[in-house]
């Protein structure tokens, strides 16, 4: 195993070398190319200013050298082992030195600084999104497979396919238009990561009186507990009726909250929500039903407490940040979990019909044990494969979502870098994402071995 890992690690070097070479060549050969002139944006410059600026850039980045020389210089800069130069540009030594990703043309700042600014934001988004994707995908996918051909399977397939085919930019703009606008429901903020006011707030939320906190907790917990109980114990028609009533009530409340309130809303919204509620309650998938109804109960309880509790409440920096993240995280996750749920369903289904599953059932293993111990573990392989491509995605960010919600993440940085022909930045980002992709593949390969004893690298 260690030799295998070492071999893979060493193999990464030529691959990365190739990646940067290709990217560099493409950038150098792009129409317009990269030269001091392209760096000087706009035209409101007097000729002397233009000349001075060009000379300055040429001196700083060596843009007037032939492209191979520029590439070798860049390579020397990023490698921890290489030539060192003195102030006059003569070689002063060879050996280990500080690796340096260079200075961005456009921002005039070290690339590492720029990355250090953007990476935490992208990581925050992805740290929330990725677990959400996996939990939902596995919960739905596995159950759909066991219910093959029944209502749940067909229903979830249709809705997953629908979700998967909605483009993110459309969903993002629609969500801002409907749920972040005074014209409809102004529940969420339109852009950014926190409100100006939140910067002056303490980090954690706090309340004017201890009684309010108690009220909030008690009512939220009571709401959740009641609906969880209902979800577990009540017979189908009763709980469907209960949820339909709750949905209808929420619909009426929503219609009242709508600014314009065209009359049709008062009919349509309650009907729609009542149908959704009843549908959820009707589901015979206990886990999903409990989770859904429990969180609805929690929200209703908390909502009532806030509505009737009175007193002062400061949301604090943390809640404000989370509140800003709701819409972006929904946008980032719905497509992925839809795709992943379909994938999980297929994989689990294939193994459920396999001989070993039948054998396990025949020898008397409980159905749940068969599913999670045997079948699920064998179905993990496709999920691991997807994970390999998720790792670079973690840092790459999503351009579209970042653009729509004005979040300064890696995706936007990368696209702007390409647009501006910011060579050092593009090369650094491709270098990093290349590295992460290769690492992702390596980790996936190792995980295969962990999940499947048949796979071995010795």
């Amino acid at each position: 195993m260690p030799t295998y890992i070492l071999r893979r690690l060493l193999l990464m070097i030529p691959t990365l070398f190739g990646i940067t070479l290709v990217v560099f060549t493409v950038m150098a050969a792009s129409p317009g190319g990269i030269s001091a002139q392209t760096l000087i944006e706009g035209q409101g410059l007097e000729p002397e200013a233009r000349k001075a600026l060009e000379d300055y850039y040429n001196r700083l980045y060596g843009l007037d050298d032939p492209a191979p020389v520029q590439y070798l210089r860049w390579l020397n800069n990023v490698s921890p082992l290489g030539f060192e130069f003195d102030a006059e540009g003569d070689v002063s030594g060879f050996g280990f030195k500080d690796a340096n990703l260079g200075t961005s043309f456009r921002y005039g700042r070290p690339v590492t600084d720029l990355l250090a600014e953007r990476i935490p934001i992208t990581l925050l988004l992805n740290a929330l999104t990725v677990p959400l994707i996996y939990v939902i995908a596995i919960a739905i996918g596995v159950h759909a497979a066991t219910q093959r051909g029944k209502t749940f399977d067909v229903g979830s397939s249709v809705s997953m396919l629908t979700l998967w085919s909605i483009p993110t930019m459309l969903a993002g703009v629609l969500m801002i238009g409907f749920f972040a606008s005074d014209q409809h429901w102004h529940w969420f903020p339109t852009a950014g990561l926190s409100r100006r006011e939140a910067l002056d707030m303490p980090f954690l939320p706090h309340w004017g009186a201890l009684g309010d906190v108690l009220l909030l907790f008690v009512s939220a917990l009571a709401g959740a507990a009641m609906l969880v109980l209902a979800a577990r114990r009540l017979a189908v028609p009763y709980r469907a009726l209960l949820m339909a009533v709750i949905g209808g009530g929420l619909g009426v409340a929503m219609a009242f909250a709508h600014a314009g309130s065209p009359g049709v809303l008062y009919v349509l919204l309650p009907l729609l929500l009542a149908a959704t509620g009843a549908g959820i309650a009707w589901m015979d998938y206990v886990g999903l039903r409990v989770a859904f109804m429990g969180s609805i109960g929690l929200l209703i309880g908390a909502g009532l407490a806030v509505r009737f509790g009175g007193g002062t409440f400061v949301p604090g920096f943390l809640l404000d940040r989370l509140w800003h993240l709701v819409l972006p995280v929904i946008c980032l996750s719905y497509g992925s979990f839809a795709f992943l749920a379909k994938l999980t369903r297929t994989a689990v289904l294939e193994n459920l019909l396999a001989d070993y599953a039948r054998t396990a059932r025949a020898k008397g293993v409980a159905e749940q044990q068969v599913l999670w111990r045997h079948v699920f573990r064998n179905s993990l392989l496709p999920l691991i494969t997807v994970f390999a491509s998720l790792l670079p995605g973690l840092l790459a960010g999503s351009v579209i979502v970042e653009q729509i919600f004005s979040i300064d993440g890696m995706g936007k940085l990368a696209v702007e870098a390409v647009k501006n022909r910011d060579r050092e930045l593009v090369l650094s980002i491709t270098l990093i994402s290349g590295l992460l992709t290769l690492f992702g593949y390596l980790v996936a390969d190792l995980l295969y071995a962990a999940a499947d004893p048949r796979v071995s690298y010795d």
């Binding site: 392209t38 233009r50 001075a52 600026l53 005039g108 700042r109 934001i121 653009q403 729509i404």
Partner: protein, 622 residues
């Protein structure tokens, strides 16, 4: 026997997890409180410092009173005050409902890279800097005359090469240090230091030979040669504090790579002048409590949020979370019909004198290979063919003004007797026929005598929706005269490349302009060589001479006829077909008062600030 994982374990682990999470969050919260404490300590220190200074000057006064010097120290100073920069703001502050307080929250369409002066190059950061840094002189928005801001008076030497400024003695930077002549000298020297990343400014100020301090509050700018814009060059220099930026002369990298080194004498300041970073997603300026001007700035804070997505910006404005919104023509018309929005906002259409003009530039080619457009008759015909009023009506919905020349029609540079050429297809055809283009084979396209059709490519920037519509409309109009236009949408870098290599037939772009526009770099024949801005290769010896004369003529009365003569030559020759000047269309929240259009544009962005929010309508009061 393997122990089973039970619900009890789950609860235990969940509780432990929640506890650890809470602990982490609590630690984070304490950390934030420390930061807040440090901030408060800083402002307390500042106040203590001010108190000490005040006590010192009080003591001095007491000494003088004791020795009976009072009364004799009032010097007979000649009243040198040339105009009062605060006159308009002061008049406004006398209004009955005038009130200080409230915030202004606006949005930028792109993120900022840096706020450090000289290093930053975009319009957004200079907008922020204009609230923090001040120059010696500013223009009065109505008379357009220069009035003193940091300078109380100024004189010009006999030869017109030296400009002497007397600074105000009460001006202070926002950290309490007085503004002296030394700071002005420092600013110039700092810009001229080669290791500072300011090549743009260095070339701009290259006409100044030196700047010297002749007293603590007197400074002299000496120019190398007479230059018509000398006063604006010297007076417009934004003064940077030497004690703040001085240390960076030793470590220029620290300055060149900085993101937010911004401190000045202006009415607003950064809460932390050294550590602003772009990842905050906004710029926030607070009122400078030590502002020296006689009218304190009304708003407590000015905030610029970064919202890139257009529809998100509009929604945020509708929600009332930002106070201004600049609309495109189509959008503007649609929003005017929105009753709810109209109740909450006021809207303005205005023509900013510095907004510039758009044009189609015809490539003249060079001596070896003349192009289609090297013949002045062809260019004149193209201007007759370009139905500019229709473009304005249909593409820009009338929110633009026809351009005759590079000079602003309201400036003295413009000769009012020049009328724009109307759309006249008959005259265009006649002119083209004179130039040798006629439809010989009856296919609807005109040809020259060799039978080559009159066809050319029009290069334009692909990402601009309005320009795209304009080019397609032009294509149809030109086709009626048998002229073939092939649209060539291009990406910005490629477009710059095409300009550089002179590789285009015709190109449509815009230039920004100043209050007095210098056309040297665009039309002087010396600017053809070396990839400079006369990219169409236009040569006219008469015009060259006029431009050079006008530029070195310091006397305005003698300069304006020269510009007008130059304008007439451009009008005859039509090296460009000048298209239009576009209006700015903005919505502003209704709570702001006294917003008006001035000759410099809308006064909402101007300094000293002359708008305010009455107390009853203030939105962000504590």
């Amino acid at each position: 026997m393997e122990r089973q994982f039970t619900i009890k374990d789950l609860i235990l682990f969940a509780t432990l997890g929640v506890l650890i999470l809470l602990l982490l969050l609590a630690m984070y919260m304490v950390d934030r409180q420390w930061l807040k404490l440090a901030e408060m300590e800083r402002s307390l220190n500042e106040q203590a410092q001010d108190m000490r200074a005040l006590r010192g000057s009080l003591g001095e006064l007491e000494q003088r009173v004791r020795f009976g010097q009072v009364g004799s120290v009032v010097q007979e100073e000649p009243n040198l005050d040339q105009g009062d920069a605060f006159a308009r703001a002061y008049a406004v502050s006398r209004y009955p409902d005038y009130a200080e307080g409230d915030w202004v929250v606006t949005a930028f369409g792109t993120g900022l890279e840096t706020l450090t002066p000289l290093v930053s190059s975009d319009a957004y950061s200079s907008q922020v800097q204009s609230h923090v840094l001040e120059s010696l002189l500013i223009r009065d928005p109505e008379t357009l005359e220069w009035v003193g801001l940091l300078a109380k008076s100024w004189q010009v030497s006999e030869d017109g090469l030296s400009f002497i400024f007397q600074l105000r003695d009460n001006a202070r930077f926002s950290d309490g240090t007085p503004v002296t002549a030394q700071d002005v000298v420092f600013t110039f020297d700092f810009i001229m230091t080669p290791s500072i990343n300011a090549p743009r400014e260095r070339a701009y100020y290259n006409k100044i030979e030196n700047v010297t301090a002749t007293g603590t509050h007197e400074v002299v700018f000496r120019f190398k040669e007479p230059y018509f814009n000398a006063l604006s060059l010297a007076g417009g220099l934004a003064v940077m504090p030497s004690h703040f930026y001085g240390p960076y002369l030793d470590k220029p990298e620290g300055f060149n790579q900085s993101k937010g080194l911004l401190l000045g004498s202006g009415p607003y300041r950064l809460a932390d002048p050294e550590n602003w970073t772009p990842d905050q997603g906004m710029v926030e300026l607070e009122r400078n409590p030590r502002y020296w001007g006689r009218v304190p700035p009304p708003y407590e804070r000015i905030i610029w949020r970064v919202i890139e997505n257009d529809s998100a910006r509009l929604t945020t404005f509708r929600n009332g979370d930002i106070d201004t919104y600049a609309a495109r023509p189509l959008e503007y018309q649609r929003l005017l019909d929105d009753r709810e929005l109209m109740q909450r906002t006021q809207h303005f259409e205005y023509l900013s004198p510095v907004a510039g003009y758009s044009y189609i530039a015809w490539n003249h080619g060079d001596a070896d290979n003349a192009s289609l457009f090297s013949d002045a008759r062809v260019r004149e015909a193209m201007t007759y063919l370009t139905d500019r009023s229709r473009l304005i009506d249909e593409v820009f919905l009338g929110y633009a003004e026809l351009a005759v020349s590079p000079f602003n029609p309201r400036s003295k540079q413009h000769d009012p007797s020049l009328q724009p050429r109307p759309f006249d297809i008959g005259r265009a055809k006649a002119l083209l026929k004179q130039a040798g283009y006629e439809d010989h084979d009856g296919d609807g396209v005109i040809e020259n005598t060799q039978g080559e059709p009159f066809a050319f490519e029009l290069t334009y920037f692909q990402d601009s929706e309005d320009t795209k519509r304009m080019v397609l409309l032009l294509k149809d109009i030109y086709a009626r005269a048998g002229v073939l236009l092939k649209p060539r949408p291009t990406e910005w870098a490629v477009m710059i490349d095409a300009l550089k290599k002179r590789d285009f037939d015709a190109i449509t772009l815009g230039w920004t302009s100043g209050l007095e526009t210098d056309i040297y770099q665009i039309f002087h024949s010396s600017q053809i060589e070396g990839q400079a801005d006369n990219f169409i290769g236009y040569r006219n010896a008469k015009l060259d001479e006029l431009i050079v004369q006008a530029r070195s003529m310091v006397d305005e009365g003698a300069r304006m006829p020269l510009w007008q003569a130059a304008e007439r030559i451009l009008y005859e020759d039509q090296p460009y077909t000048f298209l239009m000047r576009r209006k700015s269309l903005v919505f502003i929240d209704r709570r702001f008062r006294n917003i008006e259009k001035t000759r410099m544009g809308l006064n909402f962005d101007m300094l000293p600030i002359e708008t305010y929010v009455p107390t009853a309508e203030q939105k962000y009061t504590r």
